[in-house]
Amino acid sequence: MERKDKVRRLLLAGVGGQGILKASDMICTALMYEGLDVKKSEVHGMAQRGGSVTSHVLYGSKVFSPVAGRGEVDILIAFEILESLRYINYLKPTSKVILNDFRINPPVVNLGIMKYPEHIEDIWKEQVTSLEVIKAREIARKAGNFRSENVVMVGILARHLPVKREIWERVINESFSEDLRDVNIRAFQLGYSALPS
């Protein structure tokens, strides 16, 4: 279905504890500061404990739904390799995929009941024309703290969003306590420049 609304739809996916909700908060705040309408949605509570976590972010001149339907997502930002595949039916052939090359075994894999699927990157190469793969956790370690993995991912995504650099810096400064600002500014910058744009 072709949409008239010109709303852009992002889907962040990963594992509880990777800072996905914080990342989507930062993205929404930045889009709001740019004067756009924005909505986001996610599920807290039981679903959060080490399980799959997603966050939908929709922005444009006027946004109604805070969630994207299947086949509607423009950019998938996957914080973990396997989690990228779980939401493949939210994507369309023209979708862009940003993939963090990082693996967290689900319990069934650790227990030896199932195998962690191999070659997920190749599956994406066949399905979409735009795939960006990055080792965000390693980059975050270089920035000074592996927990800034989420901010590295925001940095990579930022190249595709209509938000000025100074707004990103304002958002990062507002999102973290003073002792964590420098490492996260570095993480953002390293993410932003990690790939050729």
Partner: protein, 596 residues
């Protein structure tokens, strides 16, 4: 000023802007953040009550004293608070009383997906339903206005998608607090003995008639005429889903969902060719519209269970599906929520699973212990049911059940609904073993304080319930305390209590690893390759920090076998390991060691 707020934060903001300064509730996803946000505003009194019934009664008391009271809970919480709800509908509220019921279609974090709009009809009180954060902020004010104007409790119903979505909200200057507090007896209105209740019963019907009339002029019930071919009656989040896929159709968007605006509905129906009602869960609006003799399409094409999204609505009406990428033909391992690394519940449930007892469980993070590999929990119905069900089972089984039934309940859940059934066990000479998993907080909903933590919602120091003393005072035959990080002690005590006659209470005490007040920094553990024989014992606790390295996935020479038949070895992720040592206690080769 604009702000990006969740639906829950917006409700708190709206209440504060309206001059509300009194709030009570019990944490429950997706409602928890409302009272948390409200409690942080200047000059506000807010409390976590032990359960929703108490919270509502606290709110009724405050309203009777002239205050505007906000009471928050999740959908199943309103079941607990149903008793006062049905009668405060008769008495009216004096000040003002708004009850927020946060429903959970799709059961993201709940045991059922009941549709609490039914409570409004059942209790004969008005119900408003916002569609996003900005409406949440405005509707809570309308709810208080209606409560004041019609002397009625009002339900503000949200769903997970409204409560936990964020959107841009236009903040307004808060109204100054107006002190209307009073002590004014009015026994005919507030003493609901039969003679007086019969009188109030008619007041309820009069009020409902007045509210029905108001519904037709309520500005939040609005017709948006566009293409007259298709008309959609909808409310709440479904409005946004529908607008995003069908921007050109005509809408009757309802803000006041009970009682319904009959004239407005008839008017709208007469102006469109084909009429749909789009609503999640029960056909609440649909049945009432049909009862007006109006022909509508509803649940024959829309799902009756689970939450909707734009695609579900698009597909139901057009019969067409969006083009999506095709999932590859591989099995994607599921990733359900799991107990955190270092979770103290892991120790107690590992032992319970090992002892092969039947565990009646309860509501909390520990409910997850039903899964592989712990498999240490066998029922979950509602708050407090673990204690009463364990008693019921052991009474029914008699000697067949002796030493085989354990009821397990969290600390916050115990204080919510576990004490009365514990009295029942003592009173009726029950023999079930009850375990309180005291992790010092309400963990599942995000670390809320409760009467056992020693802190109030507004972070004042207060008294803390002592479970051991309480157990003794109630008359339990035996009260014990264990540290669930110590597997041997936990197993020994459980075995002793299971083998003895009489009632017994075990407090399994260890703070949640995420609980900031009792955070213990310990070095992470590691697996010594020179010692690990790949027996998988440690993996049986299901810790997310522990994983399995399959030697067949590695090139020759990249691994070392200790025994001939060894197929792999365990690995600990140092980033997430908290050093709790539960896995190390299971390692017969002493291959799991502490760093440093």
């Amino acid at each position: 000023m604009k702000a990006l707020l969740s639906g829950n934060e917006a409700i708190a903001r709206g209440a504060y802007e309206y001059g509300v300064r009194f709030g009570a509730g019990y944490p429950g996803t997706p409602s928890t953040e409302i009272l948390e946000a409200f409690s942080k505003y200047e000059g506000v009194y807010a409390e976590w009550s032990p359960n929703e019934k108490v919270a509502l009664e606290v709110g009724i008391g405050a309203a009777l004293a002239g205050e505007k009271a906000l009471v928050t809970m999740k959908h199943v919480g309103l079941n607990v608070a149903a008793d006062p709800l049905f009668t405060v509908s008769y008495t009216g509220t004096n000040g003002a009383l708004v009850i927020v019921s946060a429903d959970d279609p799709s059961m993201h974090s709940s045991q059922n997906e009941q549709d609490n709009r039914n409570y409004a009809k059942f209790a004969k009180v008005p119900l408003l339903e916002p569609a996003d954060s900005e409406e949440a902020r405005r509707y809570v004010k309308i709810a208080f206005e209606l409560s004041e104007k019609f002397d009625t409790p009002v339900i503000l119903r949200t769903t997970t998608r409204v409560s936990h979505s964020k959107g841009i909200v236009e903040l307004e200057e808060p109204t100054a607090y107006e002190d209307k507090r009073m002590i004014k007896p009015d026994v005919a209105k507030y003493v609901m003995v039969p003679a007086m209740a019969r009188g109030r019963r008619h007041e309820v019907e009069k009020r409902l008639r007045a509210l029905k009339e108001y519904a037709n002029t309520c500005p939040e019930n609005r017709i948006e005429m566009a293409d007259p071919e298709v008309g959609i009656i909808t409310a709440g989040m479904c409005y946004n889903y529908a607008k995003s896929v069908f921007p050109d159709y005509s809408y009757l968007k309802l803000g006041l969902v009970y009682p319904l605006p009959e004239r407005l509905i008839r008017d709208f129906a007469s102006r469109v060719k084909k009429l749909y009602v789009i609503e999640e869960l029960d056909p609440f609006i649909e049945e009432q519209v049909k009862a007006m003799g109006i022909s509508v399409v509803g649940k024959e094409i829309f799902p009756y269970a689970g939450e909707f999204d734009p695609g579900i609505i698009y597909e139901a009406i057009t019969g067409k599906k969006n083009i999506t990428l095709t999932p590859p033909e591989i099995e994607i391992p599921p990733r359900p929520p799991n107990l955190c690394p270092g979770c103290p519940h892991r120790g107690i449930f590992y032992v319970l699973g090992k002892l092969q007892v039947f565990v009646t469980g309860d509501i909390g993070c520990y409910t997850l212990a039903f899964m592989k590999p712990l498999e240490g929990l066998h029922s979950c119905i509602c708050m407090g049911a673990s204690v009463s069900m364990a008693h019921g089972m052991s009474k029914a089984l008699k000697e067949k059940g002796r030493g085989k039934i354990v009821g397990v309940i969290g600390d916050s859940t115990f204080l919510h609904s576990g004490i009365t059934p514990l009295i029942d066990i003592v009173y009726n000479k029950g023999e079930a073993v009850i375990v309180i998993c005291d992790n010092r907080t309400t963990a599942m909903t995000g670390m809320q304080d409760h009467p056992g933590t020693g802190f109030t919602l507004q972070q004042e120091l207060t008294k803390a319930v002592n479970y051991e003393e309480l157990g003794r005072v109630l008359g339990l035959d035996s009260v014990r305390v264990v540290d669930p990080y110590d597997l041997k002690e936990t197993e020994d005590v459980l075995k002793e209590e299971l083998s003895r006659a009489g009632s017994s209470l075990i407090v399994s005490r260890r703070a949640c690893v995420l609980y900031r007040r009792e955070k213990v920094k310990q070095e992470s553990l590691w697996v010594d390759e020179e010692k690990c024989v790949g027996c998988r014992q440690c993996l049986n606790v299901g810790c997310p920090s522990l994983s399995w390295i399959d030697f067949s996935d590695l090139p020759e020479g990249a691994y070392k076998k200790i025994t001939k038949k060894q197929k792999g070895r365990a690995l600990i992720d140092a980033d997430s390991c908290t050093g709790c040592s539960i896995c190390a206690q299971l390692c017969s080769k002493k291959a799991i060691l502490r760093k440093g």
